[in-house]
Structures are given as structure tokens and as C-alpha cells.
Symmetry: C2
Subunit: 433 residues, 2 copies
């Protein structure tokens, strides 16, 4: 394989180091890795491709650590409803009709939105996951994929679903030049009986893969857990052995101090989904307390039907804003910490070691924002601007594994017009069934 090598000249890079958050200078990428990042101009071979970084702000690609991409087909189909009405009357009847074709086009629509908006890695928990994997392959994005299993069914159906989840995780782990990794997912403690959850823990051991589940999204489900099992969800999952394995929990809105300590002790990661938690009125997660306890907290959009967009800049901004407003402390979650939640903590939550940071040796998963715009002025603090002013649509270029996938705001890998048309057609078919 010949080496592909290119260099950014005069760029501004978010490095988030102890002593400096931003570096102005040069970056060299060879194949899928950053091989140089510094202030001094490096010597490169004649003919090396040069990208002028003068009006660009480079960030690590954003990592969306919880979602259900195919649900974009239900965006705007039910909003501003009580949770149970929304689920039982709107979401579940429609989702029951989803074919693998629907999952393919719904996921494509989401991946198109995510990749153009600066998200380079997404965690996805859904059904028909082969289709999701196919979209990851085609798009050039990085995906951490898992078949989420609801266990409210007879034992033989449970086993069949588990087998399917295991087969998917085995088959696809490491595929798409390593851009696909997999996890094992019982859907939630309130949708999976204890003995069924234990089987997922066993599978996670056997396959040496991490676990991902929903936990403590609403107060109701916490109360139900106490009623059913005599334990709050954290103690319940701890007892079932879940935290003996690397685990990523989605939501974790309702936590006691003791539960936070348990999560910290076992190094359990949390995917905070502020947009979805607010929209569904689930509450405000105790993120400052989690971070203080040393828990890795990253950010997720959740499904596009409960958000309703996949703009990770918005999730970073919400994380930086709501915890200040609710706690009364204007220093809670500063801009640099919100950016870490969207990048390096995201990588850690997704159990990926070599993305999430711009540094020599890391994978070149990277985005560039156009700073030649009113809301990026004056040039005071680009980290602040990225968190408090920027949005998905400021993303000009995106690279994954060193390969450019978005250029001047347009996808290089996906047929945008076709995806929009097919997604609309899929939705219309679902409503007429």
C-alpha cells in the first residue's frame, strides 16, 4: 500500500492540553494517522498535498455515544406528548412496521446529517443492524454498533434475539477497515429480566466486548426497579455482574450519591443525552457530580425522534448551559470540558483508544469549521466559539481515518439527494401500511 500524505498549513487546532487549549501551526497526516502536529513547519516531500488552514478551526471528530439512527424516519411524527402516549401511540406501532429497508434509509438519513455536521463516530443501538453496518461501510464513518434486545418475550424468543445480537457482534467487529466495532446490549433493566441480563454479561465476557444499556432515564423506571427487585438500577446491574465488564450507560438521569460512587468505582461510562432528556421531560442528569466523581461522561443525541436533530454541537452547548442554569454555578462544565465530553470522553465511552484527540499518533478523525463568519468573531477564544456559538452547519471538511468524507460542506461518500428521496418514500410507505 502506498502512503497517502497531506499537510495542513497555518491551521488552528483544538488540542485541549493542560497548558494550552489551542495550537496554531501545522499538521501532517499519513494514511489514517496524524504523524505531526506542531508550531514549526515540518519538511515534507515536494508534491505533498497542502490544505490552507488559515480560516479553519480543526477539532477532533465528534463522538455521539448513544442513538437509534433509523428513528430519523419518525422525526416530527410525535412531539410534545406525554412519554407513554408518545411511545405507545406513536413510536412503537410505527417501529413495529420497520423493514430492513426502512432501517437502511433511516440510518442513511441520520448518517448524512451526522457526518456533514461533524460527527465522525456514532454509537448505535437498534434492530436490523446489518443494514446499519452497511451504511457505516458505505459512508466512511466510524460506528460502534449493537443490536439492542428487549426481553419481554418467551424464553425461546429471548434466546433467538440474544443469538442474533451475538452473531452480529461477532460478524461485524473490526470490519470496514476497523471502523466498525461492536457491543452487547440488553435494552434496559426494565425491559430485560435479571437472568436474561446475566446472559448478556456472559456473552460480553465470551466475546471480550463491552456492554451498553439504557439506565435510569426516568424516575418511574427507577421506582419500578425498586418495586420489582428491591434495588435501585445501579445496585441491580452491579449485582448481575454488568459492571465487571466495560460498560456504557445511556441517560443515568436519576442517581443518588451512592450510585455515582459505584459507577466511579467500576469505571462505568455514561452517555449524557441532554436534548432528549429535556424534550421527553425525563429530568436533568447530575453531570457535574458525575464528572467530579471521576466518571467518564460523554454526549449522545439519542434517537432523532426525541431530539429532533443530530447536531452534536447542540448537545455540547446544552451540556455547557443547562448544568450552569440548574445548579446556579456559572463555572459548571466550562467550554473546554463540554468539548472533551463531545470528543475524548466520547472516544473513551465508546472504548476506542486512538480517536477523540488531535495529537501525533492518533487516528486522523477530524473536522474543520469555517471561522470566517460573524459568530466566530472576534478571535477571542475558539474553544468558546465552538461550544457557545457554532452549529453543525459550520462544518466545512470532515476526515475519518485520514480520508476526507465531507468537503466544502458536501458529502463525498453518500448520494444526498437519493437518501432524502428514499427516506421520505420510506416514511410515506409506513404511514399508509
Amino acid at each position: 500500500m502506498t502512503t497517502t500524505k497531506w499537510m495542513v498549513k497555518n491551521g488552528t487546532f483544538a488540542v485541549l492540553e493542560e497548558n494550552r487549549t489551542v495550537l496554531r501551526g501545522y499538521m501532517v497526516v499519513e494514511n489514517d494517522r496524524i504523524t505531526y502536529l506542531g508550531e514549526e513547519e515540518p519538511i515534507v516531500e515536494e508534491g505533498t498535498e497542502i490544505i490552507d488552514g488559515t480560516h479553519l478551526f480543526f477539532l477532533p471528530g465528534l463522538v455521539n455515544t448513544h442513538g437509534h439512527a433509523a428513528m430519523s424516519l419518525l422525526r416530527g411524527y410525535g412531539d410534545d406528548l406525554a412519554l407513554q402516549v408518545w411511545l405507545q401511540e406513536k413510536m412503537w406501532p410505527m417501529e413495529a412496521k420497520f423493514t430492513s429497508d426502512d432501517v437502511y434509509w433511516g440510518t442513511s438519513l441520520s448518517v448524512l446529517e451526522m457526518i456533514k455536521g461533524g460527527t465522525t463516530t456514532f454509537v448505535d443501538m437498534y434492530d436490523h443492524m446489518d443494514q446499519v453496518a452497511k451504511v457505516v461501510q458505505e459512508s466512511g464513518m466510524r460506528g460502534v454498533l449493537t443490536r439492542g434486545v428487549i426481553g419481554l418475550c418467551p424464553p425461546e424468543v429471548q434466546q433467538q434475539k440474544l443469538d442474533e445480537a451475538v452473531a452480529f457482534a461477532k460478524d461485524w467487529h473490526g470490519k470496514a477497515d476497523g471502523r466498525i466495532t461492536t457491543m452487547i446490549s440488553p435494552h434496559a433493566p426494565y425491559t430485560c429480566p435479571p437472568d436474561f441480563i446475566e446472559k448478556f454479561v456472559q456473552a460480553s465476557h465470551d466475546l471480550n466486548l463491552p456492554l451498553h444499556t439504557h439506565m435510569s432515564e426516568t424516575e418511574t423506571e427507577v421506582a419500578q426497579n425498586v418495586k420489582d427487585y428491591g434495588l435501585r438500577p445501579v445496585a441491580h446491574l452491579e449485582k448481575l455482574g454488568m459492571f465487571s465488564r466495560p460498560t456504557l450507560l445511556a441517560h443515568a438521569v436519576h442517581l443518588t450519591d451512592e450510585e455515582i460512587e459505584v459507577l466511579a468505582k467500576h469505571q462505568v461510562a455514561v452517555s449524557h443525552n441532554p436534548g432528549s432528556n429535556l424534550k421527553l421531560a425525563s429530568g436533568v442528569a447530575r453531570v457535574p457530580a458525575l464528572l467530579k466523581a471521576g466518571v467518564t461522561v460523554s454526549l449522545g443525541t439519542d434517537g432523532p425522534a426525541s431530539n429532533n436533530n443530530l447536531d452534536m454541537f447542540e448537545e455540547m452547548r446544552l451540556a455547557a448551559l443547562i448544568h450552569k442554569g440548574v445548579s446556579g454555578d456559572p463555572t459548571a462544565i466550562p467550554a473546554s470540558e463540554a468539548l472533551r465530553m463531545g470528543t475524548v470522553y466520547g472516544a473513551k465511552s465508546a472504548f476506542l483508544e486512538d480517536i477523540g484527540t488531535l495529537a501525533t499518533g492518533m487516528k486522523a478523525d477530524m473536522i474543520a469549521l469555517n471561522t470566517d463568519q460573524a459568530h466566530f468573531l472576534p478571535r477571542t477564544d475558539y474553544i468558546s466559539h465552538a461550544i457557545y456559538s457554532a452549529s453543525a452547519k459550520d462544518v466545512e471538511h470532515v476526515w475519518v481515518d485520514g480520508k476526507q468524507v465531507v468537503k466544502n460542506g458536501a458529502s463525498l461518500t453518500l448520494d444526498e439527494e437519493r437518501i432524502r428521496r428514499e427516506a421520505q418514500r420510506a416514511f410515506e410507505r409506513l404511514t399508509t401500511l
Copy 2:
């Protein structure tokens, strides 16, 4: 004067009527007014300019009801700090150095961001207001302008400032083809002694202009008011006669049930500034209770140094999201109500009768979003998409008074490149003084 007439064909229009929120059809604009809006194609003269609305969603221009536009020069200059540190060490020393030239370029930078992002009317309270008025004139935007006066100074300086505020309000009211209106603004109960506030109430009577002030943004200032005057701010301002005049209050975060009743009784309007209130950790205003009591609640960005952007779509989304999350009620402030807050309630709050709604007879202050994008699909509910998915950068065209001021995302009235350069230069000068 010859009539300028144009028509939108096959457009989708946010009408927010009792029985339908969206209308698909035709709109005719003659000079500054909408003269037809309906499903039937109207007969127009041959040669009438036709705009193809097929992929556009038309909304009333957004109304930003509280801000200090020139403060864009301090965007990102101090973030994530305790309020008093931010004010005393960052904002005030810099603002003290602002010249009228700085106000001109800072306001231009903000107006550029606002107008391209779909805001057609803004309320602005600052100093050097002649410069702000000049920018409104040049940009084609609509401005409701007021010289905000801090009264912590000797009586003769107070009088001089009041005279200045009155002169500005008199001179500019109705200027720029009626696009400029004015108000009278004592800065806040904690920065203006009672007798000084009474002089503003008198001036408001004499000039027949509304009042605008900051109120109850923080708990500290409410406690201080009680300590200084034995009354909470609402009773204090009521006693000073303020609510005998049309009044717009910015913030109103900390209110009792009784205070909400008083505001409703006197038809006082409130500018809710969710982004700023969260970022400065002021708290979460009781917006659902205010709306329930019949108070007109609109939305404002506040100054760009405490937000840090001027995207009114974000304020509408924040209003729709945070009150659900904090109250636990997912039906709180539905999408259509958030859109009303950003449009028709904004117009009412700014005391403008003929903007804020798309209907025959209203002024043609209007924006068009590009719906040919992933995050606007499927075509389920465009009001939902506008609130939960859209951002400033989805705005394709903007008209004020029937005149197009933004076309294909570019300003037709302002020199974008020059404004960016001069704003940066102004900031650099301020830091080296």
C-alpha cells in the same frame, strides 16, 4: 411611488391559525405588505416576479426582544466565570472603553449575524444609540431602540443621561421608513434610584412611548431590592408607576405567583432569555406559569457576550426544551407556542402591531428556510422541524417591509467582509488600550 409586487408559488407557510398551523399555497406581496395568502392561485399581472417556494418553508421574521448588540465585540472574551468576576473584571472595564465607532462595528457584526439568521426585528438597549440606529437604517432591519440608563451617578449626570435618552427616543422614533421605533429605559431597579425611575415613567407618558427595563434576573438582586426598598421588584416598579405604561421586562427569572398575577393584570410583557439565563446561571424563568396567567412572553438573546450567539432558533428551541425538562411535563411549551414566542408574541412585546404573523394585511417581514436537507425530513411537521431541528444557517431568504435583505444566505445590504474585518480590528484596539 410605483408598486413593487411579487408572488410566492407553491410555498409552505407557517400561519399558526387555530385549525391549521401550516398552509400550502400562494402569497402575494405588494410594497411592504402581504396582500394575499391562500391555497388558491391568485391572478396576477403578467410579468409579476414569481418566487418558486417548492423547497422553502416561510415563517414570520423572528423578533429578538432583548439585547445589547454592540457587545458582540466581547464574544468569548470572558466565559464560565462567576457573574461578578465576569462583569467587574471582564465586561465593564472593556465597555468603559467603547467609542461610538466600536458600537457601530459591534452592532454591525450582530446585525449581520441576526439578519442572516432570520431575525428581522431586534430590541436593543445600549449607549451611543445613534450608531445603532445608523446600522438599522443601512441594514434594512427593523429595530426597537432604547438608550439604557444606569443611574448610579450624581443627579446632574443622571439628568444629562435622561435627556440624552429622551432626545434619542424623540429623534429616531418612526425613522428609516418607520423601521425604527424607540422606547425609554431605566437600566434596572438595582441600578436606578426610585425617583430616577419615576422620571422615566414620566418621560414615557410625555412621549407616548413604552418602557423597557431589566428585572429580577438574579436572586441576589431580588433580595437586594427587598433590603433596600422593602419590596420585591414587581411591587417596587408597580409602586413607581411603571406598569401604568406599556412595559417590556427583560429576564423576570425570579417571580412569585403574586408577582405573575400583577404582571398579567397590567399586561406587562416579558422577554425570556433562556440562553443567557442558563449561561450566567441566573436560573430558569417560570415561563409556563407566565403563559398560563396570560402574560405575553417573547424571546431575547441578550448580549452576545452572555449567550454567545444571536440564533433565535436556538432560543425558541431552548424555550421548548428546558421548561419540559425542569417541570417534568413533556407537553410544556409545544413547538407552535415556542414559534409564537419567537414571532407574534415578540411583535406584541416590542409594541409592533403589523409584524409577527403571516397573514393578509400584515407587513411582509418574512424568512424562508431551505427544507431540502436531511434534518427537515421526513415531511411530518414543519413547525416541529423549525423548532426542534432548524438553526440560523437554514435561513435562505429574508425580507423586511417587503424588501429582500438576504438572498441565498448572503446579505444584500451589508458589506460582510468589511464588517468582519472592522469588528476584529475594533476588538484588538480595545485590548491594547
